[in-house]
Symmetry: C2
Subunit: 303 residues, 2 copies
Amino acid sequence: MRILLTGASGFVGGAVLRALSQRGVETVALSRRAPTVAEDYVWRDVDLMQPPAVAAALNAIRPDAIIHLAWIVEHGAFWTSATNLDWITASCRLALSGRAAGVQRFVGVGTCFEYDCTASHICREDGTPLRPTLLYGVSKDAARRVLSALALSHDFEFAWARLFFLYGPGENPRRLVPSIARALAAGQLAECSAGRAVRDYMDVRDAAEALVALALSPITGAVNIGSGEGNSVRRIVQILGRVAGRSELLRVGALPDREGEPARIVADITRLRDEVGHRTGRPLEDGLAEAFVYWSEAARAAR
Amino acid sequence: MRILLTGASGFVGGAVLRALSQRGVETVALSRRAPTVAEDYVWRDVDLMQPPAVAAALNAIRPDAIIHLAWIVEHGAFWTSATNLDWITASCRLALSGRAAGVQRFVGVGTCFEYDCTASHICREDGTPLRPTLLYGVSKDAARRVLSALALSHDFEFAWARLFFLYGPGENPRRLVPSIARALAAGQLAECSAGRAVRDYMDVRDAAEALVALALSPITGAVNIGSGEGNSVRRIVQILGRVAGRSELLRVGALPDREGEPARIVADITRLRDEVGHRTGRPLEDGLAEAFVYWSEAARAAR
């Protein structure tokens, strides 16, 4: 079993590369920047926006399956960047090139933002309406639709992993968990909004294991990758204060709430648990404690 | 009012160029091949797969609206060609470049093959489920979804003209009407299937007028462009035999039926008629009689 992994140099990619390596899966990492994790894999420098180069690489690698993580992920910008448009076609071209090179299974990565999160208490793959609004979710949804059709017409298995909220090693330091953890580690005030929004947060390493389990399973279609538990952002921040022993530095409510955000985005993980057979990951408290240690050490190392 | 027209060198494009000219609309035609109709317009040789060139052209032209016809149309191949994938992104990039250059309105062109034609007696924009199967329809559907989102986020008007079955001057000679007309004009046997399938056939010149009416209207969303009338393929062929005065050359049923084709694909044209205000085009018999004359003369000219 040989897996081709795109986006291997990213936040999720690094964790997936490690999870594949730990399972002993032969892996070829495709990315423009070299992956940063020290595992056993082959790296190829390929630009997925260059279809001829992609086709040549696939014919040389001849993987059995593809886990396709690459997409625009630039912090903040990815929500509305026109680069999302390029990734629709690039992702579909990748699947076709892969199929032509013998690929049997393609696992793409979507997002909870494909769902109309205001419509359900919990997002279900077969029940919650799809109504993405920002270009990121719209483009992911379009890619999924076309990939589904290609899977039928070109006879390969297609699964679509919808990721919810992730934190953990390698996360962009400007996001919620790192920014709070770094402030606390530095003994600085940690400001955040009132944090009433309820989200499904999961350690990226658990998400990576779920993704790999999905890739190695025969399950097709959309599969939520989440913890299945909703926690308010306020609670996330309070746990970080507690594990840091610096709750007094928290300033919950100091920043304004973001307008127009769904009150609740939580994954139904029935498919992941019962069909893919993935067991639950680490408890939120443990993951956040590890994240705090990670960001504390990163801050010390940077000094 | 200045309109930018893509795909101007094609079958529909030529008719739209003429309809725009007849209405006195200032038109810039964008295509890689020069348009063949002799009307009053400016032609620019631009490859829509080159976003920087498209952006530069749009900034120079500064149109008020875009009618975007360009897409892969290669006879037979377009149904499943991977080039459909490139047109999703190219179409969306065109809309964004247009918006950045001041475009207020974008009219894209879809297809009746976006609909699940087995689900309804007649295809309605707001009632018939969308379930494209071949890559052509899937890609058009994906483009429409992303363009709709871009129209909201970037504040421009977006209409999506779903074309049904067209015939008329400039059609690919291998398609139904030209191939029957040419055989009859040459005094040869005209073979076809049993022709039980019912389709909505429209003269391309009437479709072009409807498209231009839509472009000049403020109507947004999907709008069917069709005659609203269903006729069996057998009846189309029989009319051609009659107008040619050569019904004895028809061999209906000589070719096998295509498998898996929907029994009926007919447009509900309520939106086109009542909202866009487009009046019905020429009767089928008149259009087919003109088509027969056109193909007879084309055959004579080629001798």
